[in-house]
């Protein structure tokens, strides 16, 4: 038995289109947000002020998409009264759009922090150490959107399972920063900023995990948001 949604099989063709439309739009939003994250990471690692500026100033596009997707979902709820899998599609997409918007905010935050870093005189910080952390977070984001596009529960769970590594990496980076702060108090300010960037990347991973959980909800009908990874794996793999 396959685990996908027959979104195109309603008696009403227009309803098919409306559901396909919100699904396509949330994926488009995901693509935009993923691009923002990649730019933010590049700006951080290369201390690229122009790119930082671009990321910091283009979050409004993501916000507008969230509002648009929510309005379309509200219309479907009001006009179609979706049930069962259709209802789960709409509810999951509303929640996903909120997570994607928050990811956009985190990318914007990194952009703003990089601008202040580039302004400062001290550049000997752990920017490059955040590179691996950022890549892992973006990988999870990409994996979560991929699992959503394919309605693939196994892929969603596999992707979410990578998040603890990011958390560990963030903890390690924080410890390293603290050591350096103690050795070199003058670097505290910039080290703090880099740590905030790392924190933003770690949060991006968390939001992507939420998207993975929405995929499980969509296909299996179970709300797994507050279950441990182990419980989710035992139940659905």
């Amino acid at each position: 038995m396959d685990d996908n949604l027959h979104l195109d099989q309603h008696t009403s063709q227009k309803y098919n289109q409306e559901l396909e439309d919100i699904r396509a739009r949330v994926l488009e939003m995901g693509g935009l947000v993923e691009g923002q994250c990649r730019k933010a990471l590049k700006a951080l690692v290369k201390l690229d002020l122009d790119m930082a500026e671009e990321v910091a100033s283009s979050d409004h596009k993501v916000n507008a998409m969230e509002v648009d997707i929510n309005a379309r979902c509200t219309d479907i709820l009001a006009l179609r009264q979706p049930a069962a899998s259709d209802l789960r599609v709409v509810v999951a997409i509303i929640r996903m759009a909120a997570d994607l918007e928050r990811i956009g905010d985190e990318a914007e935050k990194i952009g703003r922090l990089v601008k202040t870093l580039a302004d400062g005189r001290d550049r000997t910080t752990f920017r490059s150490e955040t590179k691996h952390l950022g890549k892992s977070a973006i990988d999870i984001l990409h994996g979560s959107l991929d699992a959503f596009a394919r309605m693939d529960v196994a892929a969603a769970i596999e992707t979410a399972a990578k998040d603890p590594d990011i958390d560990n990496e963030f903890e390690a980076l924080t410890r390293l920063s603290i050591t350096h702060m103690m050795e070199e108090p003058a670097s505290v300010k910039s080290l703090l900023r880099v740590n905030w960037c790392a924190r933003a990347l770690e949060r991006i991973g968390d939001h992507a995990v939420n998207i993975c959980e929405e995929v499980v909800f969509l296909v299996k009908g179970s709300d797994v948001r507050h279950l441990s990874l182990k419980e989710i794996q035992e139940r659905f793999l």
């Binding site: 038995m1 099989q9 899998s85």
Partner: protein, 290 residues
């Protein structure tokens, strides 16, 4: 965007996809998905088969209706839900070619047993129909008719009380108390349907069967009947056949889905409408052609 972006994330064509639900079972030895039996059954049907001549309309349906619960029965036209409902108070007896096999019990007593008086049975298991059908008599007489033939009132005062109580329970009293001698057919559609409900409850039934009671009513009258169903379930056991899935979702605690004479799935109403387990149920409630 659209398909291109979806493809970037590895989207597969929609026709390749399906839900995590039971595959279609298409033979006589099907099994109902879910739990058709309850502990406090008021009525219980076991292995019920109904035939119209050669044609089999209901296939081996077993289902309980719990005391003081509202059970809704949904399904496409011709799926047998109304036939099943009508077999619960032997309304099918009046159709000569109709045969009912199997066991249907009310409080553990076989309603198709040889000593069963159908008039008494229908007083215990009342019915409200799709189209409001008041008698061509006054509002008062419409309600008083049942209690009178069953000898439930011994004086005019007693009858007045039954009429008032029934009309109050049907939320119609305030609107008609000053015009009780007017013909029932002069009321609006929604009022007529509430009059029919008052008429059904006047004989103190234990079970009320409703066959699409709101399909001829406007949304406001529908909302009033739904509100009424919610109040009536405190006293009565209710089985309702409806084409409005939102109505089934709103008024019932359990929902049964029928398809081509088979009881495909039954369960808690919330579960049926959020996570049905059978593909046919899923297709029906989401409006897919399946």
């Amino acid at each position: 965007m659209t398909t291109a972006d979806a493809k970037a994330y590895g989207a597969v064509p929609q026709e390749a996809v399906g839900l995590d639900v039971q595959d279609h079972v298409d033979v006589a030895d099907y099994q109902t998905i879910g739990e058709p039996y309850v502990e406090n059954a008021k009525m219980s049907a076991r292995n019920v088969n109904v035939y119209y001549g050669e044609k089999q309309a209901i296939m081996d349906v077993s289902l309980d209706i719990g005391e003081n619960e509202v059970l809704s029965m949904i399904g496409p036209s011709g799926c047998g839900k109304s036939t099943f409902l009508r077999s619960l108070n032997r309304m099918n007896d009046i159709i000569p070619i109709c045969r009912v096999h199997g066991d249907i019990q009310l409080d553990g007593e076989d309603i198709y047993g040889s000593g069963q008086d159908t008039v008494l049975l229908r007083a215990r298991v009342g019915m409200v129909f799709q189209k409001p059908n008041p008698f061509p008599k006054s509002i008062y007489e419409n309600v008083a008719y049942g209690p009178r033939i069953h000898g439930l009132a011994h004086s005019k005062a007693e009858m007045d009380e039954i009429v008032e109580t029934s009309l109050r329970r049907a939320s119609l009293w305030e609107e008609v108390k000053d015009v009780l001698d007017q013909p029932g057919t002069g009321l609006s559609g929604g009022q007529q349907q509430r009059l029919c409900i008052a008429r059904a409850i006047a004989v103190s039934p234990e079970v009320i069967l409703m066959d699409e009671p709101c399909s001829a009513l406007d949304p406001i009258a529908t909302a009033r009947i739904e509100e009424l169903i919610d109040e009536l379930k405190e006293r009565f056991t209710i089985a309702i056949v409806t084409h409005s899935m939102q109505q089934a979702a709103r008024v019932s605690q359990r929902t049964a889905y029928f398809h081509l004479g088979k009881l495909i799935e039954v369960g808690d109403t919330k579960q049926i409408f959020t996570m049905p387990r059978h593909e046919l149920t899923e297709n029906y409630i989401t409006g897919r052609f399946g």
